[in-house]
């Protein structure tokens, strides 16, 4: 055990012996967690380690099967989300849970708006208090704007202002930087420092190690729903944390593979869309991994979705093999052998309310049926094949996909597409929000697929991933192709310059 720095103060919040099970899944078993005033505690663990579950226990959404929650040394129960909020625990989620149609001020004060005469809401007071809160966190936002008009970073600020408005003592930040730009991330760090100075206890959940070392004072590691270790950040190295997190050492080297690049599979020329992209052209070969790099909003996903038949290009042609392909719907794209693993897994990738086997076979229904009638035995056989190939972790194939961890949901989505025996697979940010272990597995798997002759397109915003995995990189900027880099030209510097539109250094 490492000794906490300074004379160990009493934690604001202490969880001990917490267990929580769901049908077929033991999400948490006997875990502990301590949060201290004025300190940032990083919660580290792979997908499926139990991070989201502990957040839900902390915010009163789940009731633990066993264990004690103490606030200031007194045992409490968070029977409802409201009880947790009253005890001063508030969470800022990955996808902010706010109301798009309400104003900034209403979002901050919903549920506890200042009251005036006759118990009516005192709008002027609410606006004034909102302004004060926003100023306190250094956010330059008009409280009268509706949330719809704001970007994701500003929404985070509103969520934080809301946390302050209920005088939260414990602030949980669940991957707050996942959707933010570089500049916005730095502003968030400053804000976290400010919250620390105000004496808040902060639980910071993140996959990014640089971030954790930059901002956290303490760490707690979970693995497979169990508590592994905790201590001060100053006493631990990145390697040790990774070791604790995965229970094995993972080297960050990308899989080596034979480069057997074959004939062109997909040729796109002059693809244009009135608002999203213009004059996109490239050729994708058999056995190739083609990387698409760019800043958020560069139009990469939009190009991919038009290749997959979601949106239709206004101009341009697409050839698959030697023949011209007209793709007007996703069904036609799949028929042509083009499949797409979307970035937004929860909304576009997985059907969470359906069991695993039905998710896997969804685009392949024609193959597991005769004359439109399903063959259950064939359906299970297909699902079994591909889930095994991806090393899926689940209690049974009949389990709803929504009960799986993010990494395993991604495996189901990839399995679903491989089962269609595609020629081209497009992966849009395939490792976003996935822990190191699953990430390496996805990379390994992509290399394997390319090795088998599949043509792979990978859209990614992570430079090491793009450079480590791709044979060739296309950089997009503002809807156009800004550069195509191969071989020794594939350097981080050139990628960033092309994406940002900065001229090559002489």
């Amino acid at each position: 055990m490492t000794v906490a720095p300074a004379p160990a103060p009493q934690p604001v919040l202490r969880l001990s012996g917490i267990s929580k099970s769901f049908p077929g899944v033991r999400a948490l078993s006997d875990v502990q967690l301590e949060l201290f005033a004025g300190q940032v505690t990083a919660l580290i663990g792979e997908n499926g380690a139990g991070k989201s579950t502990i957040v839900k226990v902390l915010t009163g959404i789940y009731q633990p099967d066993a264990g004690v929650i103490e606030v200031d040394g007194k045992a409490v129960q968070f029977a409802t989300a409201d009880a947790a909020a009253k005890a001063g625990v508030t969470a800022i989620h990955q996808e902010t849970v706010l109301f798009d149609e309400l104003t900034v001020a209403e979002n901050i004060f919903i549920g506890h708006a200042p009251r005036g005469r006759f118990g009516l809401i005192d709008w002027a007071e609410m606006e004034a208090q909102s302004r004060a809160l926003l100023t306190r966190i250094g956010a330059d936002l008009d409280p009268r704007l509706t949330l719809r008009e704001l970007g994701i970073a500003s929404k985070h600020l509103v969520a934080i202002a809301r946390a302050l408005s209920i005088d939260a003592r414990v602030v949980i930040m669940d991957e707050p930087t996942a959707a933010l730009s570089h500049k916005e991330i730095h502003e968030l760090y400053e804000l976290v420092e400010r919250l620390k100075a105000e004496g808040k206890a902060i639980l910071f959940i993140s996959h990014k190690f640089d971030e954790v070392f930059r901002i956290a004072d303490r760490y707690t590691v979970f693995r497979d729903g169990a508590f592994i270790g905790a201590g001060a950040m100053s006493d631990v190295t990145e390697g040790q944390l990774v070791q604790m997190m995965v229970g094995r050492s993972v080297d960050q080297i990308f899989p080596k593979r034979a480069h057997n690049i074959g004939a062109p599979v997909l040729t796109v020329s002059g693809y244009s869309h009135p608002t999203e992209f213009e004059d996109i052209g490239f050729t994708l070969h058999q056995g190739e991994i083609l990387g698409f790099y760019g800043l958020v909003g560069a139009g990469r996903s939009e190009v991919m979705q038009s290749l997959f038949g979601i949106t239709r290009p206004s101009k341009g042609a697409c050839r698959i093999g030697d023949s011209v392909a007209v793709i007007r719907s996703t069904a036609e794209a799949i028929g042509q052998g083009i499949v797409y693993v979307p970035e937004d897994r929860g909304r576009q990738g997985a059907v969470k309310g359906l069991p695993i086997f039905q998710n896997v076979t969804l685009p392949s229904l024609g193959r597991i049926s005769r004359g439109g009638f399903l063959r259950m035995a064939e359906e299970f056989a297909l699902a079994r094949d591909y889930t095994r190939r991806l090393d899926l972790r689940a209690a049974s194939l009949d389990q709803d996909v929504g009960l799986l961890s993010g990494g395993n949901q991604q495996k189901v989505v990839i399995a679903k597409w491989l089962a269609t025996k595609p020629r081209v697979i497009i992966l849009d940010e395939p490792t976003k929000g996935i822990d190191i272990g699953s990430k390496a597995a996805v990379h390994e798997f992509m290399a394997e697929l390319a090795g088998e002759g599949l043509a792979v397109i990978m859209v990614s915003s992570e430079i090491p991933e793009i450079l480590g995995m791709s044979d060739r990189v296309i950089v997009m900027r503002e809807g156009r192709i800004a550069a195509e880099l191969t071989g020794s030209a594939m350097t981080p510097e050139r990628l960033v310059r092309a994406a940002a539109g900065i001229a090559e250094a002489a």
Binding site: S249, Q348, L397
Partner: protein, 331 residues
Amino acid sequence: MSDSTHHTARLIPDRLTSPLARALRSWEALLIVVAVAVFAINSFASPYFLNAWNLSDATFNFTEKAMIAFAMAMLIIAGEIDLSVASIIALASTAMGIAMTAGFDTPMLVAVGIGTGVLCGALNGFFVARLGLPSIVVTIGTMSLFRGISTIVLGDEAFTGYPKSFAWFGQGYVWWVFSFELVLFAVLAVGFYVLLHRTNFGRSVYAIGNNPTAALFSGIRVGRVRFILFLMTGLMSGIAAVCLTSRLGSTRPSIATGMELEVVTMVVLGGVNILGGSGTIPGVVLAAIIMGLVTFGFGLLNVPGIVMSIFLGLLLISVIAVPRLIRRWGK
């Protein structure tokens, strides 16, 4: 080192619970208990209940509604709804009345009735699946539209004097106590069971109801499936219109008023999630039988209709609330 990402593939079992265990815990099991209870209470309460011909008569209380309820169940599972079904019956029945007045005989009348239903369904489907309008708004609109056209045509009058051969659909018997409607109900129940639970189409319906975006991203032709579902609801309303008109032997302005809510009640009582995504045909069949038995039992006891609707309302709420309360208190 790199082998650290290669785990030995673990075998995942297909299912954890046996089909029997799941069946026992299902909504349908609860409905069977309710159905048996209603049957038993009716047998004690009235000496006339346990009689083959009386029971056969009782089936007319639910057969027409159930036909529509099967199609409605699929529509609701897919996350849509059709509130215009009763008005489709009115319009289809009116169309048959016009055709009858024009001198057409039974086969043509049936074709007109069913055809009108299909056209109405196509109109709903066009608005929802092609134009992307919300189905609840569209079908509240067409509910007024179809009923309005029917009322204008009929005024205070009624079409009567349907040909004798036409009466068979609503009054005829296939064998012994088994009426044409009852046999049709059974055939449709099996047909819809297979369609929803054993075909690609049925699977698409569940996928769309759970997550239409992911369904679209999985290559399912979401718009086409939705259109077909509205077409089917229209078709079933047309068939129900033929049966009902034949049984009543007339078309009056008040025909099938309020039936859309009874159909939706039947579907929800059958365990279909009103928000879409889940539900089964056996559940709807059981709900239909329960509603039919309750109506019939109350009829035998001379209970007024309004008490009947109060009871059905309570039954619906309690059947939905009780399992949820048990789960909450059980902890």
